[in-house]
């Protein structure tokens, strides 16, 4: 198979891409773009694509509110959330060498949920809701640090990380349930919607601040990304080829937390994407991390984008949380892939 390798900055960054990757990524890029445009056109009333273009380029102004204030930030937010969740899952799965790992399972999402539900239960009406994302990110980060700290015993082994993550996650979920039961009905309803995950009410300021958060992990992923493929072969082997396993593990864990925590902060507890997007990507291309990451991001974006599109158009005038549909749409596709490639 045809492959190209790019080496930059004195070999500090190296990226290997194949022809197959190029084709498949192209297809997914096209798919995401198509759903994105469809999202801008559809809603309560259908706006033809030509008018959407004219609105965005400023040649007409009649759809300014619907297209530019409501649909555009919401579609962009769906893309960012899906991409972040997908890549967070990919990193975790490679890191702990376990295909079942995902931010929802090892406790990052439940940490963020606990942060958010605590905020909704005690802060609603007292502190402005715009600080909810901060509380969620802090929750996710604290959870990850706690998991890492408890797993530490002259280094962290992936299996302990997962087990302790699962344990802490259960504990935090119990706390969330406790708070749901104890708080008054109005706040409980709000918490439930948050836990389901929804892209509703995305604004431009949400989109820009989310982009800033997502920019932080990218340089780390570029520099350390190639090491991740080696770690998948086992810790001893990684050490023998000169990888600082513990440092790399910590950095990747933090990157995953940043991505998953930010996604949870702005869209709530959307499940499934972090688990499935990387699996779908792996079925389609071979495992060179940078290429895989780009494809996973596209697939995650596609899943959330289409889930939100269905959620806000199929049951009009109802606008339903997108988290209800991510699994409903992603799971059949994943099962199809498993079936199609069952002999590989």
């Amino acid at each position: 198979m045809k492959q190209w390798t790019f080496r930059l900055f004195n070999d500090r960054i190296s990226i290997q891409l194949s022809a197959r990757w190029l084709v498949i990524t192209g297809i997914w890029l096209f798919a995401v773009a198509a759903v994105f445009l469809l999202s801008l056109s559809s809603g309560s009333n259908w706006i033809p694509l030509t008018e959407v273009f004219m609105q965005i380029t400023g040649r007409i102004d009649q759809h300014s509110f619907v297209v530019e204030t409501l649909r555009l930030p919401r579609a962009l937010m769906a893309i960012l959330v899906g991409a972040a969740l997908g890549v967070a899952g990919l990193i975790l799965q490679s890191l702990v060498r376990n295909p079942l790992a995902s931010p929802d399972i090892i406790g990052i999402t439940s940490g963020a949920s606990l942060g958010a539900v605590t905020f909704i239960s005690f802060g609603a009406g007292v502190i402005s809701m715009q600080y909810l994302p901060l509380s969620a990110i802090a929750g996710g980060l604290l959870a990850a640090l706690l998991i890492y700290l408890i797993s530490w015993n002259k280094g962290v082994t992936p299996i302990r990380l997962v087990l302790i993550g699962v344990g802490l996650s259960a504990m935090m979920k119990a706390c969330v349930t406790f708070m749901l039961v104890m708080s008054e009905t109005a706040t409980t309803t709000k918490s439930y919607i948050w836990l389901t995950g929804s892209i509703y009410a995305a604004s431009w300021s949400d989109v820009t601040s989310m982009i800033w958060w997502l920019l932080i992990p990218i340089p780390f992923l570029l520099v350390f990304g190639r090491g991740l493929n080696v770690t998948e072969l086992g810790e001893d082997f990684s050490v023998s080829v000169g990888i600082r396993v513990q440092l790399q593990q910590f950095i990747f864990l933090m990157c995953s937390v940043m991505l998953a925590g930010t996604a949870a902060a702005y869209a709530g507890g959307i499940e499934f994407v972090g688990l499935m997007a990387p699996h779908i990507a792996r079925r389609l291309v071979h495992r060179s991390f940078p290429g895989l990451a780009v494809l996973t991001a596209l697939i995650g974006a596609f899943l959330v984008l289409i889930a939100d599109l269905v959620a806000r158009t199929v049951f009009l005038p109802l606008d339903i949380p997108a988290g209800v549909f991510t699994a409903a749409i992603g799971a059949p596709f994943f099962l199809y892939l498993l079936f199609r490639y069952r002999n590989q």
């Binding site: 809603g43 409501l70 606990l114 239960s121 009406g125 402005s128 109005a186 109802l318 606008d319």
Partner: protein, 330 residues
């Protein structure tokens, strides 16, 4: 080894802190609602040029002229707007009897539904081109900016404080006198009820609003029904007096004595699960000892008027029920 011990202690401390935070919450939240009820509608400054300024939970909003097209995003506002003889152009769906409660369905035949109270459809609202939107902070804080771009948005802090709802709607519609009349009417009805209930041989009485669910029971101490009962002179449930509770969840039948009061007003969904749970609770030996049960003062009330609607009309319907239960002349 020591390190592990240390970590274990840290973990314990963290969970203890979290639990403590959970426990502390309730007092905080009751405090919050109490202070809320004090900060009712501020004065409206009607400027000379005909604009209307309304101060509300999320700021001050200016309306250029008396609004005609009204959108209501919570049940209490939908109910109360109708009292001003204004038919909203858009409302959110009701919780039961979907899409709208039977008692106001006829007044809202032409209305457009804009989704659910928890996640109203912004595009639908924008398409209605409203002049004013009534929202609630607890539900719609995050979309306040977007709503304000569609139309001036007036925000009530809670969803059940019907007097605040009446005041805010009155100000926004430029009908403050009407609002004052409506509230004065309400207050004279309450005064009348208080005067007549005294003749009841058991007065003063404590009252509990009970809600049976599929797996537990709740006592609503404040909230919509609870605050109206207190306004009408009823005391809090006997075991809960002076505790400043909002809602008490009873997860175990051993807690039945907490429900104790001279009168019960109960409501529940009409599903087999709930009915079964209700029968189990009421068949429990502890239930027999409660004052209301012994005096045969248990009333099953309409959950829409008593809990789900939260507007001025609903409050009046609730008061009608109370006259009826205690066999008082209006």
């Amino acid at each position: 080894m020591n390190k592990k011990l240390l970590l274990f202690i840290v973990a314990c401390l963290v969970s203890a802190l979290v639990l403590a935070a959970c426990g502390g919450s309730e007092e905080e939240s009751t405090d919050a609602t109490e202070s809320n009820s004090g900060s009712s509608a501020e004065e409206t400054e009607s400027a000379e040029d005909g604009t209307i300024e309304v101060e509300h939970a999320m700021g001050t909003t200016t309306l250029e002229e008396k609004p005609e097209r009204v959108v209501s995003l919570y049940q209490g506002a939908t109910d109360t707007v109708l009292e001003f003889d204004v038919t909203p152009v858009g409302v959110v769906e009701s919780w039961v009897e979907v899409p709208m409660y039977d008692y106001i369905k006829d007044d809202l035949q032409e209305v457009t539904y804009v989704g659910q109270e928890t996640q109203p459809n912004l595009e639908e609202i924008a398409a209605l081109d409203p002049d004013v939107i009534f929202a609630s902070q607890i539900r719609h804080e995050e979309i306040y900016e977007q709503l304000s771009e569609i139309a001036p948005t007036i925000v009530n802090e809670t969803i059940y404080d019907f007097k605040e709802t009446t005041n805010l709607i009155g100000q926004a519609l430029g009908e403050e006198e009407k609002a004052e009349t409506l509230i004065a009417d309400w207050e004279s009805r309450i005064a009348d009820f208080k005067e007549k209930i005294v003749s009841n041989e058991n007065w003063p009485m404590s009252a509990a609003v009970l809600n049976y669910r599929a797996d537990h029971a709740r006592i609503y101490v404040t909230g919509f029904a609870g605050s109206i009962l207190q306004e009408a002179g009823f005391e809090e449930p006997i075991e809960l007096q002076g505790q400043n509770e909002e809602i008490v969840m009873l997860n175990d039948k051993e807690a039945i004595p907490q429900m104790n009061a001279d009168v019960f007003f109960q409501f529940m969904e009409d599903t087999p699960d709930v009915q079964k749970n209700f029968e189990e609770w009421t068949a429990h030996p502890l239930y027999e000892n409660l004052e209301a049960v012994q005096n045969d003062n248990v009333f099953t009330v309409d959950e829409v008027a008593w809990n789900m609607a939260g507007g001025l009309q609903a409050a009046n319907l609730m008061l009608d029920d109370m006259y009826e239960y205690f066999e008082l002349e209006q």
